[in-house]
């Protein structure tokens, strides 16, 4: 394995900007790594070799001319979740219905990455339309967890998180509707951030559940995530729900956190996130992490958020409802798959046949669930009530943030489960989102930072840190402090303990 792929994004950027390495060399090294291991982990749906090399060369040319780097990450490669549109590069959302679709426009996140000179290697695998917690719902086959080939990498952004753990990319973009950045981060031993809703533009993010979806950075270190967050974040007039205010000082917060001093910081432990359904090893890893935070000077308090137990049911009403409407546009008329066209078939016949053939089981299940929850006679009892729960969850957060600056919990109740284990049990699959959905319902910011390996199965566990809306900087300060302390205690970053992957042709 090339050493280049083991470097962090910050280290790579420094070497590229000081011309110790060229962006092209760095990109080529990652493309080689993808070529070697992707058959085994299957994190990419599309690798844009030519586009990536061209983007890298453009950065090199500018630097060679003596110009300042376009951004602190200029020349660093990145894996982009296949739910963000890319002008001229296929975007499938892990679905047959969009197989072969080449968008005529860039998502705002894509555009900002390109403008910052970040090199987009390709598009990563995901649960179809981001519905799932295992990446098994991809129409193009599952992604494997680099820590254990038989296990899932989490979802829906399993391709993005696994690409980091497989050293195929130092940075990735995910999207988080109910935990799809944080939960894959936790089970692959990587860092994932769900920014405050409205903090990163949704323009060009193919909508799953519009009021919950949020794109965010994935990386192997907290600082790398912060650097990426600053590139993609900030106001976008193309997204009406984008916050028209400057981003908080994220990178500064990550650097400050690295001094590993949390004196004066109040950390709230959410008492509802423990007990039944939580794997013992996950629980112990979490308790150890809280001890570490205390040792860094944080004041640890217990907080109760009594309505968080209703968050998961509310989430599984709101997301199917919005998805049933968002996915109506996939109808075989203007783009994407069209099947069932014969001499006498009507547009309606073709729509029905195409949607039946083009969507997988989980997507159909949610479309029908949402169609039901929004239908007349049921709206008030289901969708209406779920929106009231949303208010109660937000109030619980408000009360908790009166007592604490940040809240902590395990990111997900268990370590990575086996591929196939929960496929036929939707409710078991949905429980993976138990701790992550409250932040989506309330719109506030949250991060998952690796908290070591579970003592019972040796698989990664994540510590979730939640901050109030617009206070994303707190995640980075606490996350970076914890990361430094944990690395010191365990003799280096967790992700380097991932086993060697089988290389194809080797």
């Amino acid at each position: 394995m090339s050493d280049v792929t083991r470097l962090t994004a910050a280290e790579l950027a420094e070497k590229i900007h000081t011309r110790e390495l060229t962006a092209e060399q760095v990109t080529q090294a990652h493309l080689d790594r993808i070529g070697a291991v992707d058959d085994f982990v299957h994190t990419f749906l599309h690798v844009d070799t030519e586009g990536a090399l061209a983007a890298a060369r453009a950065v090199d040319a500018e630097l060679d001319e003596g110009r300042a780097p376009r951004s602190p990450l200029a020349g660093v490669p990145l894996a982009l979740k296949d739910v963000l549109t890319t002008d001229g590069v296929p975007t499938t959302c892990g679905s047959r219905i969009l197989e072969g679709w080449v968008p005529p426009y860039d998502a705002t996140v894509t555009r900002r990455l390109r403008e910052a000179g970040v090199v987009i290697l390709g598009k990563t695998n995901m649960d179809e339309f981001a519905m799932g917690s295992s990446t098994e719902n991809s129409a193009f086959g599952p992604t494997h967890n680099p820590w254990d080939h038989a296990r899932v990498p989490g979802g829906s952004g399993g391709g993005s998180s696994a690409s980091l753990a497989a050293f195929e990319a130092p940075l990735a973009i995910g999207t988080d509707t109910g935990g799809s950045i944080r939960q894959p981060g936790a089970v692959t031993g990587t860092v994932g951030v769900k920014p405050t809703y409205g903090g990163v533009s949704r323009y060009g993010l193919v909508a799953f559940s519009s009021s919950l979806d949020q794109a965010g950075p994935c990386a192997r270190t907290v600082l790398d995530a912060a650097l990426l967050h600053e590139v993609i974040g900030g106001h976008d007039p193309m997204d009406s729900t984008s916050i028209d205010a400057p981003l908080p000082p994220i990178v500064e917060a990550a650097r400050r956190g690295a001094s590993a001093d949390l004196s004066g910081v109040r950390v709230g432990v959410v008492s509802e996130f423990a007990g039944e359904g939580y794997q013992a090893g996950v629980q112990r890893s979490f308790e150890a992490a809280v001890d570490v935070l205390r040792s860094l000077g944080a004041e640890v308090v217990e907080v109760s958020c009594p309505h968080f137990v209703y968050a998961l049911p509310a989430y599984y009403l709101i997301n199917p409802s919005e998805c049933s409407s968002n996915l109506a546009r996939f109808d075989a008329m203007r783009y994407g798959l069209r099947v069932g066209e014969s001499g006498d078939s009507s547009a309606e016949d073709v729509m029905r046949a195409t949607r039946e053939a083009g969507f997988g089981a989980e997507v159909k299940r949610r479309i029908m669930l949402g169609t039901f929850a929004l239908s007349s006679g049921y709206y008030d009892a289901y969708y209406g009530q779920a929106q009231k729960v949303r208010t109660l969850v937000t109030r619980d957060f408000d009360a908790a943030f009166d007592k604490a600056d940040v809240l902590v919990s395990p990111t997900t109740p268990t370590t990575a489960f086996k591929i196939g284990e929960r496929v036929d049990d939707p409710m078991a699959m949905y429980r993976a989102d138990l701790c992550t959905v409250p932040a989506n319902l309330a719109g506030n910011a949250a991060i998952s930072v690796p908290s070591g390996l579970s003592d019972e199965d040796g698989l990664p566990v994540g510590l979730q840190v939640m901050a109030p809306a617009l206070a994303d900087d707190r995640l980075y300060r606490v996350g970076a402090a914890y990361e430094v302390a944990r690395d010191r205690a365990s003799g280096g970053s967790l992700v380097y303990r991932v086993p060697e992957l089988r290389e194809s042709g080797a």
């Binding site: 080449v102 005529p104 409205g198 009021s211 007039p237 009406s240 729900t241 916050i243 028209d244 309505h307 209703y310 049911p313 509310a314 599984y316 009403l317 109808d331 075989a332 008329m333 203007r334 783009y335 994407g336 798959l337 069932g340 078939s345 009507s346 547009a347 016949d349 073709v350 029905r352 949607r355 039946e356 969507f359 089981a361 159909k364 299940r365 479309i367 029908m368 669930l369 169609t371 039901f372 239908s375 009892a381 289901y382 209406g384 779920a386 929106q387 009231k388 729960v389 949303r390 208010t391 109660l392 937000t394 939707p426 409710m427 949905y430 989506n440 319902l441 309330a442 719109g443 809306a469």
Partner: protein, 99 residues
Amino acid sequence: MPSISRDEVAHLARLARLAVTEEELDTFAGQLDVILRSVASVGEVAAEEIPPTSHAVPLTNVFRDDVVRPGLTREQALAGAPAAEDGRFRVPRILGEEQ
């Protein structure tokens, strides 16, 4: 809490334009029933006086100036179309009238 019948699932599939198979009807009827039972607890807590939250951020009045922006060319617009004819999207015959 009402359980969801096979007929209701068939009705939902029609509304959602999904040509589901007979086997799927059985599977989905069972699964939707389980899911609906487990999410029904939302009915327990939220009382009348709780306002619903539809948006995670409390923004209002986000407007755009009435100024033309360049869009797509016709070639770009039609590039992804399953079929096109005379600069338009070609679709199978449409049943019924415009709404």
